[in-house]
Amino acid sequence: MPSERELQISPVVQESLVHNTRTLYNLQSLTASLFGVSAGILGLESYAGFLFYLVFSLLAATLVYALRVAPTSLAAGKPLLDTSRYFRGAYDVWAGGLMNGFAGFVLTWTLFYGLVRA
């Protein structure tokens, strides 16, 4: 997280921050529901389901990095796996999906588990 002094030297555009965060949030909620659907179809239970969610959230974050962040970020000279060109903290991209989409995941997981196995 940049300090006050660094923010004074290189200011941040609030509109871009809001735009990027909202784009990421929309994607994370949507994909979390999708992961719930497939976990329900696979019939995963307890820890296996949460592990599935963890793995696919990381996969989604990797895809976002590879397709949306990396092409311009690497060209601008940022190191690999660095998302500071578009996001304030690395946490938002890599682990934000675990928090944002959790409720949606559990909802569709239980729904499809019940639909398939009822």
């Binding site: 290189s10 200011p11 941040v12 555009v13 509109e15 871009s16 921050l17 735009h19 990027n20 784009t23 990421l24 929309n26 994607l27 949507l30 994909t31 999708l34 992961f35 659907v37 497939s38 179809i41 696979l42 019939g43 696919f56 996969l59 989604a60 895809l63 976002v64 397709l67 949306r68 962040v69 311009t72 601008a76 500071s84 060109r85 578009y86 996001f87 304030r88 499809f112 639909l115 398939v116 196995r117």
Partner: protein, 144 residues
């Protein structure tokens, strides 16, 4: 771009729906088999898990939909002011379009436009000379 992402997402959804239907049928078949075998032999049948092809289809289709959704997200914008302003200067509104090429509604253009169009700094005498020259050239051409 948006067509590509929508096509990929639709294909993935089809596969996922098929996997869901297959899993449903498999579960129904298992319960039916369990009921008949219980009534015939009363031997406990092992609860068989999902066939490997349905598992693979589910995972692959999830990945395909995920790919389509990520491709369908709006392009991100640079956070730092200098990077952002440089992008505006270099690419103009072409750098702030969504996937279908429509310029974003909140695109505001050059952040220093107010400074660059200050009317106090217009050289009005030079513009008057240029205008007079242009009028003379026009009348000269008409006279010929």
């Amino acid at each position: 771009m948006t067509l590509l992402s929508k096509t990929i997402t639709t294909f993935g959804s089809l596969f996922l729906a098929h996997a869901c239907y297959s899993a449903r049928e498999h579960a129904a078949l298992q319960s039916l088999r369990a009921a008949t075998s219980a009534s015939l032999t009363s031997s406990p049948t092992a609860a068989s898990s999902l066939p490997i092809d349905i598992v693979i289809e589910t995972i692959v289709s999830t990945f395909i939909i995920l790919l389509g959704l990520v491709l369908g997200t709006r392009p991100l914008r640079p956070l730092e002011w200098r990077v952002w302003a440089g992008k505006i200067e270099r690419e103009g509104e072409q750098g702030f379009t969504d996937n279908s090429g429509v310029v974003d509604k909140d695109y505001m253009g050059n952040p220093f436009a107010v400074l660059e169009s200050r009317p106090n700094f217009v050289d009005i005498r030079k513009q008057r000379r240029q205008f007079a020259k242009w009028v003379q050239e026009g009348s000269g051409k008409q006279g010929q």
